[in-house]
Amino acid sequence: MTAAVKVFRYEIQDLRRSRWLLGYALLLLALTDALLRFGGGGPRAVLSLMNVVLVFVPLVSIVFGTMYLYGARDFIELLLAQPVGRTALFAGLYAGLAAPLAAGFLIGVGLPFLWGGAGDGSLAGPLAMLLAAGVLLTLVFTALAFLVSLLFEDRAKGLGIAILVWLAATALYDALLVVVATTFSDYPLELPLIGLTLLNPVDLGRVLLLLRFDTAALMGYTGAVFERFFGSRLGVGLVLAALGLWCAAPLLLANRRFRRKDF
């Protein structure tokens, strides 16, 4: 697996000079700083940031990831012509793309808290959860970017699909849930809805955060059930496991495809 580490290191070297990635970190930095200054205090800033994290992080991860992989295709070919195995190369490429994206996010959101005074320790818990959710979503949507770019040869089509995946996860799926909830409102829906929530990584991130912010009551009529169910250690464990699955499944599929692909 040492080849994976070498590829990982070169990709970090390449991406840490990427202007897009720098822009991503700076934008998050400015946004977080502004929310902390003018957003009405720490807890509310964290809550506003939650929405940024849930929408913006998946978008950047999947779109930037897909673009980067299409751009790197010829170089990946050259790397494959070296005495390197495909799975090692795949592992290095994924880690080398996900790590800079996660680092950009951590720096962009974390730094303003450090200097802007998350002084009293009350914010530490929610902030840690916010950072964890952002990193997990980065890992998931980078994995999806790999899958998309390997499934579609055409760059424009791949980019379109990537945006569609993001749209589905952030907006369309919730709309679907509402339709389901209103259509079957005569039935006890709590458990089915919980099950459906587990199927969407963005919803998983949202649940993880909401539980930390004691705002489960704001989540409509299923809120209480969510809190009762997810508030337990078992619930959090389940959410984390589902997110892990959301990361592993696309990666395994993408690696399978990568190993068999004709370049």
């Binding site: 080849a3 070498k6 590829v7 012509a81 390197v84 495909r86």
Partner: protein, 252 residues
């Protein structure tokens, strides 16, 4: 039979560096290769020629393990091309369109490839010097012209003293001076015992380089043999005319 390489180690020299039998490949509905039998002789310069879509690049990609053949077998230096990537340590590849990572410097690209190969052989930096690359190596790739990138691409292929060089349209995008340096280097590599496989659509330039010719037509090997035999078989004095002759009438 042994021969001394430039590095001074005696190597057993197999008669063929690439041998293929019955290699087939289909992309979707298109049968690109319909059973390729090849014996590329070691220590010689072999040109793979053919019109567009004849399967030239597919053959090269299968050789490199970038594309998997549907059927048949293929060996490079006696090692079967399969799941073990180790055989590629013997191959230097110069792709037609190099796209190095934009934010890396040339030196970093060189370091990465060196790292991945881990070869202990003293490196061949002759082309770096001939192309004037050392002055360009610390600039990011995005600041380099297309010609300079192509020079880097060529220099890197020769750097690890591979037993087999695979050059895809090597002189495309090079200025005449650089192209001359590269051709001289190809001939020196052969002199040192390296086998070379190349493709080019500039037939006149191949005439001065090539020992053997493989002509692909519609996924089959139409002709395979030395340049002299090709000219004798067709009665044409020039490679270009001989190829045209074969493509029109065929010899089989």
């Amino acid at each position: 039979m042994t021969r001394d390489t430039a590095a001074g180690r005696p190597l057993p020299l197999p008669a063929t560096v690439v041998s293929a039998s019955g290699v087939t490949k289909r992309f979707g509905r298109q049968q690109v290769l319909r059973g390729i039998d090849l014996a590329v002789r070691a220590g010689r310069i072999t040109a793979i020629l053919g019109p567009n879509a004849a399967g030239k690049s597919t053959v090269i990609k299968i050789l490199l393990g970038l594309t998997r053949a549907d059927g048949g077998s293929l060996a490079v230096n006696g090692a079967a091309v399969g799941s073990d990537p180790g055989y590629r340590a013997e191959i230097g590849y110069m792709p037609q369109h190099p796209h190095f990572p934009e934010n890396l410097t040339g030196r970093e690209v060189v370091h990465l490839l060196r790292d991945l190969r881990g070869d202990a052989v003293p490196e061949d930096d002759e082309l770096f010097g001939a192309f004037g690359l050392p002055a360009e190596l610390d600039k990011p790739i995005r600041a380099l012209s297309g010609g300079t990138r192509q020079k880097l691409n060529a220099a890197v292929a020769f750097m690890f003293r591979p037993a087999l060089l695979i050059l895809d349209e090597p002189t495309a995008g090079l200025d005449p001076v650089a192209s001359g340096h590269l051709k001289a280097k190809i001939l020196r590599a052969r002199h040192d015992g390296t086998s070379v496989i190349l493709t080019s659509h500039v037939l006149s330039e191949l005439e001065e380089l090539v020992d053997d010719v493989v002509l692909l037509l519609e996924g089959r090997v139409e002709f395979q043999g030395s340049l002299r035999r090709l000219k004798d078989a067709t009665g044409e004095g020039r490679l270009e005319r001989a190829i045209a002759h074969l493509m029109q009438r065929g010899t089989k």
